[in-house]
């Protein structure tokens, strides 16, 4: 099925099998945002430093702005859109980021929550130092980081069960 310069890539994205036909130099961030319309993953620094484009590829936190999409063939990918179980609930991390001030402008938040999700899978009850070291690849200019740490600690305490979400209050 692979034609000249075009490659068919298949992967599971947020629980749904997907297939895209792409050129070899297309980045995963472009496939997610432009080809598949999942704009929750953000492109900011474009050089793999800020962490805003973090996604989970087979459970590993990777920067989608650095990743050639052809390398994700056969993998399972989770983006920020794939974390909440349904429209009525949030993960305890998503809920904690709202209640404990883990975001302000929100542009780095998808990446922060993706990275923290992987952290809590690896270390369900991390120390403050473990949180700081795990999260140092996710820059945030708004919060000064203190409330991101608090949010992650609160979610670790609450455990993995989903939390009902409050209605959005802005239209």
């Amino acid at each position: 099925m692979t034609t000249a310069n075009q490659h068919v890539v298949r992967f599971e994205l947020n629980g749904v099998p997907r297939e895209v036909s792409i050129r070899a130099n297309r980045r995963l961030i472009d496939v997610l945002r432009d080809d598949l319309g999942l704009t929750g993953t953000k492109e900011c620094c474009s050089v793999g430093v800020c962490g805003a484009c973090s996604v989970l590829v087979d459970g590993q936190v990777l920067s989608a702005c650095l990743l050639p999409a052809i390398t994700v063939d056969g993998t399972t990918i989770t983006t920020i859109e794939g974390l909440a179980p349904d429209e009525q609930h949030l993960t305890s991390l998503q809920d904690a980021f709202i209640r404990y001030g883990g975001f302000q402008c929100g542009i780095c938040t998808p990446g922060q929550i993706i990275a923290a999700t992987a952290l809590l899978q690896e270390i369900p009850h991390p120390t403050t130092e473990q949180i700081k070291h795990w999260m140092m690849g996710n820059l945030c200019r708004c919060t000064g980081y203190y409330k991101i740490v608090e949010s992650i600690q609160a979610a670790a305490e609450a455990g993995p069960q989903p939390v009902p979400r409050e209605p959005v209050g802005v239209r």
Partner: protein
């Protein structure tokens, strides 16, 4: 007026109204927008810092399949952009002044095609001599903007008179409360201190690059979705630059991925207008981060010489400050009529009877200077608060005691002559001394440093509209964009408290600039104050209307219904708000306008707030590295509306200041950025956060904001660096007069000669 305990709702942590959108990836930022038929914009940019353009060949770019238009300066003419002085050509015509200047603009069917086409544009240059701070003010310096007097200035304003053609901004403030001249005081004073400081150019560090989507709609209106935090202002800029009536332009900005002052400058909107007109399609532009770091607008680097005359007992008698700020190639990013940022406003927390403060903004071939969180203050605070510490040490006085002796008291005029309505400087200093255990011994190699900061509480005018919806909810309509400060949640909580309803009864609606609630935009610590007060005014009216209409709807006696604790109450009986409100909503529309004008009037005392730090550091004398042991912040506050977001602003301000103090330097060499990516430009990350304690001192007198609130956004980032520098001096004796405070600078200060040999 005494502030009572805040209402119960305000004591609960807030649930951000936009929270579920931002944590699920569903908040729409500009770069996420796709419209039918939309084209992508890309540019051919200058790779020279200063050159004449001899020719531009776009033929290969135009021939590329998928390209719909390629425009050059010949197509955009003399259209220039800017927040006050329009001096930055949308597309360069005859000359480029920075690496990254836009020369040709492409609109194509995908970003890849647009970028490929842009790379096919051929430009011939003739290099011109570089203008830097070293040569810009020479009598025979090359002039960067020989035609500056022909540039447009917004609001029919005028450019300040300047002493040299490469000086685009200038401000001189002088006062003498005693009638005595500065010079005679300097002659007779017991002591005169003369110190020079410098601060680096910094980048705002918002992670979302600027973006816009621009199109012409069926009614011929120019439509813009963008990342600008002042939609009404960018509408005025576009109208002026493009000669369009303002009512033909609609700006829609909702979520902005960080601002910190920088996003008040719109750049790509101007060329995208021409591309949209040429192609008949919507056009989208997203700046690459490399262009943000070398061709947008940055915090001005500054050099400041401070002279202060001091009496034998440590009283400040006279103060002179001369600041030079690097304005870069364009003044477009600046908003003040004098086209400066107030880096000359040194010793702003103190009373000094005789002053002379001067600042010059200079054109150079580097990134334009603009606004960044409390523009001018981090420069002037670094210089001023180090200067005060150096005076204390040279006079053998305690740094806190010297500050207490000279700090502003209620009603006293500041160094610029503006009277301070209410000063909390003494209370801040007392709390710093007490809470830091100031003066207690520290281990060798450790030291404490103090700083006192002050910032105005922003002012201005705005309006909101409140409507009763069919659902029984009350909608608050606002034109303000959300840059992360939590304005929409301020609106909900203020309206809910004032009406005495459950906060979930209040929803917020954002409207574009064609909507009923124009707003001046986020910035200058004004949003909570003016938007919150507008909501307070509107909610007070809405509550009275609903009480009246509840009587009619329920057949209750007129004039006796009260809305309390989410219920309408008459005598001994009551009914739930939601039920009655739904009933009322079946009748004619209920709508009120909440207008507020808190514009500061010249001559009236200004509203200011104070904060201070004690920072404890350890310095390694062999490597020059600084470790921060702990940080104490004391902040003066009024009624806090969003407690989580309020602390978040203080936290974010601290880390902003840590970045400035220890690492951030957007440096240019020979007109070329040496930090063109976030891999090179170091901003604080998780592991840079020190142990941090905040002590809030609640002002018993109401602040100007809603329900007695003050401001938090620009209070805590300005005075971090001097506290760090003062702590470094206390720890190891090295007085660093230049930020960032790097290991090299510490080693040089400790042992300059050894390092050179």
């Amino acid at each position: 007026m005494q502030v009572l305990d805040p209402p119960a709702l305000l004591q609960e942590p807030e649930y951000r109204v936009e929270g579920p959108l931002k944590v699920t990836g569903n908040a729409r930022y500009t770069a996420d927008v796709t419209l039918p038929g939309m084209l992508w914009c890309a540019y051919a940019r200058s790779d020279r810092p200063h050159a004449r353009i001899l020719s531009v060949d776009v033929s290969a770019a135009r021939a590329l399949p998928g390209v719909h238009a390629v425009l050059t300066g010949a197509d955009t003419g003399d259209v220039c952009l800017g927040r006050r002085l329009l001096d930055w050509p949308a597309l360069a015509r005859d000359r480029v002044r920075i690496i990254g200047d836009r020369i040709a603009a492409v609109a194509a069917e995908s970003r890849e095609i647009a970028e490929e086409a842009a790379s096919l544009v051929r430009v011939e240059y003739e290099d011109l001599p570089l203008v830097t701070l070293e040569n810009a003010l020479d009598a025979d310096a090359p002039i960067l903007h020989p035609d500056i007097d022909s540039y447009r200035v917004l609001s029919n304003g005028k450019r300040p008179k300047t002493p040299h053609p490469n000086v685009h901004g200038h401000s001189l403030v002088e006062k003498s409360e005693t009638g005595e001249s500065l010079e005679s005081i300097f002659e007779r004073a017991d002591h005169v201190f003369d110190h020079t400081f410098s601060t680096a150019r910094e980048f705002q560090g918002f992670l979302e690059p600027r973006a816009c989507v621009v199109w012409i709609d069926d009614e011929g209106r120019l439509r813009v979705i963008n990342t600008n935090k002042s939609p009404a202002a960018v509408r005025q800029q576009l109208a002026t630059a493009l000669d369009l009536p303002e009512e033909q332009i609609v700006i829609d900005t909702t979520f902005i991925g960080g601002d910190f002052g920088g996003k008040g400058l719109s750049i790509d909107e101007f060329t995208c207008y021409f591309l949209a007109r040429a192609t008949g399609r919507p056009v989208k532009a997203v700046m690459a981060y490399v262009d943000e770091l070398q061709a947008s607008n940055a915090r001005h680097s500054a050099t400041m010489r401070l002279r202060t005359a001091v009496s034998a007992d440590g009283t400040f008698l006279a103060h002179q400050s001369e600041a030079i700020i690097d304005g870069g190639a364009y003044a477009a990013g600046k908003v003040s009529p004098a086209l400066v940022v107030p880096a000359h406003n040194t010793l702003s927390a103190y009373h000094v009877p005789v002053t002379r403060l001067e600042v010059k903004a200079v054109y150079t071939n580097s990134i334009p200077g603009g606004s960044m969180r409390a523009p001018g203050d981090p420069q002037s605070m670094f210089a001023g608060e180090c200067h005060v510490d150096m005076i204390a040490r040279e006079l053998g006085l305690d740094p806190i005691a010297l500050r207490r002796r000279n700090c502003l008291r209620d009603g006293e005029p500041s160094v610029t002559g503006e009277r301070v309505h209410r000063s909390r400087a003494v209370e801040v200093l007392d709390a710093l001394e007490r809470e830091s255990n100031w003066g207690s011994p520290l281990p060798d190699g450790h030291g404490r440093g103090v700083s006192l900061g002050v910032r105005h509480i922003g002012a201005g005018a705005t309006a909101v509209v409140l409507r009763l919806l069919d659902s029984g909810e009350v909608e608050v309509v606002t034109g303000v964009a959300d840059q992360g400060g939590g304005a929409y949640t301020v609106l909900r909580r203020v309206a809910a408290v004032v009406m005495s309803v459950d906060s979930r009864r209040v929803v917020v609606r954002h409207s574009d600039t064609s909507g009923p609630a124009p707003d001046p935009g986020v910035g200058g610590q004004r949003t909570t104050h003016i938007l919150g007060r507008a909501a307070q005014v509107g909610a007070t009216d809405m509550k009275a209307r609903l009480e009246e209409l509840a009587a009619e709807a329920m057949g209750w006696p007129a004039g006796e219904v009260r809305l309390e604790d989410d219920r309408f109450v008459v005598g001994d009986s009551s009914a739930p708000f939601a039920e009655v409100a739904e009933q009322i909503a079946k009748g004619p529309p209920v709508e009120v306008r909440g207008g507020y004008d808190g514009t500061h009037k010249p001559g009236e005392p200004g509203d200011f707030e104070f904060a201070g730090y004690v920072v404890q550091t350890a310095v390694d004398r062999e490597t020059g590295t600084v470790a921060i042991d702990n940080v104490l912040l004391v902040a003066d506050v009024g009624t806090i509306i969003n407690p989580i977001a309020h602390q978040g602003q203080l936290d974010g301000g601290l880390m902003f200041g840590i970045g400035a103090a220890l690492m951030e330097d957007l440096s240019f060499q020979d007109g070329r950025s040496t930090t063109p990516s976030l891999g090179d430009y170091k901003m604080p990350c998780q592991t840079d956060t020190p142990h941090f304690r905040t002590v809030l001192i609640h002002d018993p007198v109401e602040g100007p904001g809603p329900l007695g609130g003050k401001a938090a956004g620009e209070l805590t980032n300005t005075s971090v660096a001097p506290a760090v520098a003062n702590a470094v001096a206390a720890a190891c004796g090295a007085r660093i007069t230049q930020i960032p405070i790097t290991a090299e600078r510490i080693l040089e200060a400790l042992d300059g000669d050894a390092l050179k040999s």
